[in-house]
Symmetry: C2
Subunit: 151 residues, 2 copies
């Protein structure tokens, strides 16, 4: 009975899953996926920001946990900007993402590198290291938003 339940659930999961030719069943899923990844990343980035800016007490362990999550999340959204995912749901993604792929990739690579550095800085447990890495990562977020995200 338990096995049957698992099987039914698995079948439902498959219905939601992507065909072999693409990672997302439909454009709407890709848009929701990248927005979800950015939202989780933004929440944890914000927690670090609060510490860095003295709005919350510095908690080295919490900062490290959040930075690790930021680093993981920073790798996810990009595959969800495939061809045709410029529409299908409400999105702030600008057409430049698809018309200026090289520049876009440069920005997304930069963010991933900065997020890795942020996680390394958080690991030191030193607030000054965290501040510095946070500033660089925030610049990277902003640069991409300025170029590729609608206001």
């Amino acid at each position: 009975m338990k096995k049957l339940a698992a099987f039914i659930f698995a079948a439902a999961a498959v219905a939601l899953s992507a065909p072999a030719s693409a990672q997302f069943a439909k454009s709407e899923d890709a848009i929701k996926y990248r927005q979800s990844a950015f939202f989780v990343m933004g929440q944890h980035f914000g927690r670090i920001g609060a510490m860095v800016n003295g709005k919350a007490p510095f908690d080295a362990k919490a900062a490290q946990e959040s930075a690790d999550i930021v680093a993981v999340m920073s790798k996810l959204p990009w595959e969800a900007f495939g061809p045709g995912t410029d529409k299908g749901a409400t999105t702030k993604a600008l057409p430049a993402i698809w018309s200026e792929q090289a520049k876009y990739k440069e920005h997304s690579d930069k963010l991933q590198a900065e997020a890795t550095k942020l996680a390394a800085a958080a690991k030191t447990g030193n607030l000054d290291n965290l501040k510095s890495a946070f500033g660089s990562a925030a610049s990277s977020c902003k640069a991409c938003h300025d170029n590729f995200r609608a206001k």
Copy 2:
């Protein structure tokens, strides 16, 4: 100039971030956060499901990547079910989450354990191992949905 931009961006991030007393600025953020984490998890779980059920070719590397993401995501949603987050945005979360905390925690702990096992199974590169771990994890998803999520 770059520093200033970073500072402004950081300030914006802080505005979005949580006060020290809670991880989320408002209930709506908590709901969006947990839904985001579940959505990313579900997408990757679905990719593994497609392989396990023969709807997509078995790709050991892709399965492992997705299982690792599932394992990370499985740890995130729970803190976003704090007091007062039963409303504030559209949610399928049932009141039982808050009225049956022990049972709820048991389910969420179980999922995290199953997700860890799924990642370990994916690491072996063996499809049968993956199938078995996927079935158990899917049962764990379903059990929690049956008890704590509206249809």
